[in-house]
């Protein structure tokens, strides 16, 4: 029997948190950084890919040794049919080794099209949950995991459009992908909440159909109304409707390492230190009260 790590709470780092991370070190069990914000990357073909931004890297370096570090990426575009950016994966792997990151995550979506001369969609776009996409992803996820040498998580997507005639539901697609590759799930509960509100499905039913044993990290966040939708804008505190989902999910997880609060830096005036601490404390309380499973695993 080995003792698995007790899940903790953390934040997705943004520039508004530079002082917070130093001042409230004890409130954070882990820190998630977006590497894409720590380097400049004009894209494939440029001789100046991954030029590090010293001020941003310094934040990561200061966090070293104080708490668990993890990376959350936005640039891989794993679901792009014609782009599989192995230099980007190798750059992640180099950072994973350099900073000892405990896990790395990406989104189950695409932003990049056009081999040779790329076009960026400027937002994460969904893929249809078809066998063709599953077959595209399985070898890629295996390759990424192999190069990273640490747990690789995929995040359930937020989507505002709904493709008709999909071959699988989202939960079935995620379960199959995790089953075939061994990858973990970054369960973004605000994405689930947002999709459920916008598309009118039962979020708890969706969560029940997911293989929650594969959840390694959970994201909680807030959003705001726009054009008749609830958007995943990461505005302000965690949406009130997300907390009951966290209470429901936590007891059913087996590999959970952390709950991460994410917000956009423009929301800092709505939060300040006290607001961020309040989200972390509430998440910590749920972990304490609802992590009913024994922490011993074979």
């Amino acid at each position: 029997m080995t003792e698995r790590p007790r899940p903790g709470v953390g934040v997705l780092f943004n520039p508004a948190l530079i002082d917070f991370v130093q001042s409230h070190a004890a409130a954070l069990d882990h820190l998630v950084v977006m590497p894409d914000r720590c380097w400049s990357d004009p894209g494939p073909g440029s001789p100046h890919r991954f030029e590090e931004l010293p001020a941003a890297v310094a934040v990561v370096e200061r966090a070293l040794g104080q708490r668990t570090l993890a990376m959350h990426c936005i640039g891989l575009s794993l679901c792009s049919a014609e782009v599989f950016d192995l230099p980007y994966v190798d750059q992640l792997a180099a950072w994973r080794r350099r900073f000892g990151c405990a896990w790395v995550s990406e989104h189950l979506s695409f932003t990049r099209v056009g081999a040779g001369h790329e076009v960026n969609a400027s937002m994460a776009l969904p893929v249809p949950y078809d066998h063709e996409v599953l077959e595209l992803l399985v070898p890629r996820v295996l390759e990424v995991q192999d190069r990273l040498g640490c747990p690789f998580l995929l995040e359930n997507n937020v989507y505002y459009i709904d493709f008709p005639e999909q071959e699988m539901g989202e939960a079935e697609f995620l379960n199959r992908l995790m089953q075939r590759t061994g990858c973990g799930l970054l369960l973004d509960l605000h994405n689930v909440y947002t999709n459920a509100v916008n598309h009118g499905f039962d979020a708890r039913r969706f969560l029940r159909s997911l293989d929650l044993d594969r959840v390694v990290e959970i994201h909680v966040a807030g959003g705001e109304p726009m054009m008749g939708f609830h958007t995943d804008s990461h505005t302000g505190p965690v949406a009130e409707g997300v907390w009951p989902f966290l209470e429901y999910v936590v007891p059913h997880t087996g590999m959970l390492r952390g709950v991460t609060f994410e917000f956009h830096e423009s929301s800092w005036p709505m939060l300040h230190d006290a607001g961020v601490l309040a989200q972390l404390e509430r998440a910590r309380g749920i972990l304490r009260d609802h992590a009913a499973r024994p922490l011993q695993v074979a």
Binding site: P54, A55, A81, E82, N120, Y160
Partner: protein, 240 residues
């Protein structure tokens, strides 16, 4: 090929509202340029009829605009209702080509500069040339910090920008997201922006009328070689 073209088409629908509207109106026939299976074509035609497609187009534009706004927030306030047409023109011939949406700043500034030259600053805003140059100068200096190993030891550099009315109330209003007052007294002013210990410090100088001819002509600062510091800077006469 099919999934590739499906993603290319969805990306185009997201970045080009006109194309999305054409597919909305014309259905599958408007997607003829792409090699799509019948199912993929039906899916794309279907999503153009969903309200979420409008939101996607809006969010994509907002994300692109965020990189411009981060540098040119005050220029955007001054452009007011013209901003939309500037962005439409900018993006009609330009697609984002990297995940960080880098590279929008220079084309945006060039386009605003061309509009100033074509239409005259007065028809847009009398403050626009100065504010455009001011924000460009701030961006140049901020990049020195961003790429510096020790931001507090970044080279101490300055940029000068000419203003035709007192810069302080103009900047204060724009920083609040408001148009400057219209009754500001005109004059000949210079703003010096200096990078000190990683921060930008702004100092305003007023050039008395009898010395205005000796100072660097305004066109040298914000004219053809826009966004660059003048080769010579005026002597500070009145520091504010």
């Amino acid at each position: 090929m099919s999934l590739r073209d499906f993603q290319r088409a969805l990306t185009s629908l997201t970045l080009d509202v006109g194309f999305a509207n054409a597919v909305y109106a014309g259905g599958i026939d408007a997607l003829a340029a792409y090699e799509l299976s019948p199912l993929e074509a039906r899916r794309l035609a279907a999503v153009t009829r969903q309200p979420g497609m409008s939101l996607n187009c809006t969010l994509a534009r907002a994300n692109r605009f965020a990189t411009i706004h981060a540098v040119f927030a005050m220029t955007c306030v001054l452009l007011g209702s013209e901003l939309r047409s500037v962005l439409d023109e900018l993006w009609s011939g330009r697609l984002p080509d990297n995940v960080q949406l880098q590279g929008e700043e220079r084309p945006f500034a060039d386009l605003v500069q061309r509009r100033i030259m074509a239409e005259g600053a007065a028809s847009l805003s009398q403050h626009l040339p100065s504010i455009l140059a001011y924000e460009w100068a701030c961006m140049e200096l901020a990049q020195l910090v961003r790429h510096s190993v020790h931001p507090d030891l970044a080279p101490r550099e300055s940029r000068w920008v000419a203003f035709s009315s007192d810069p302080e109330p103009v900047l204060a209003a724009l920083q609040r997201g408001q148009q400057p007052a219209t009754d500001l007294q005109s004059g000949d002013y210079r703003v010096r922006i200096t990078l000190i210990d990683g921060d930008l410090e702004t100092t305003t100088f007023e050039v008395p009328p009898d010395m205005a001819g000796d100072a660097a002509p305004r066109q040298e600062i914000v004219g053809a070689d826009a966004f660059r510091a003048p080769p010579t800077t005026p002597d500070p006469v009145v520091s504010k």
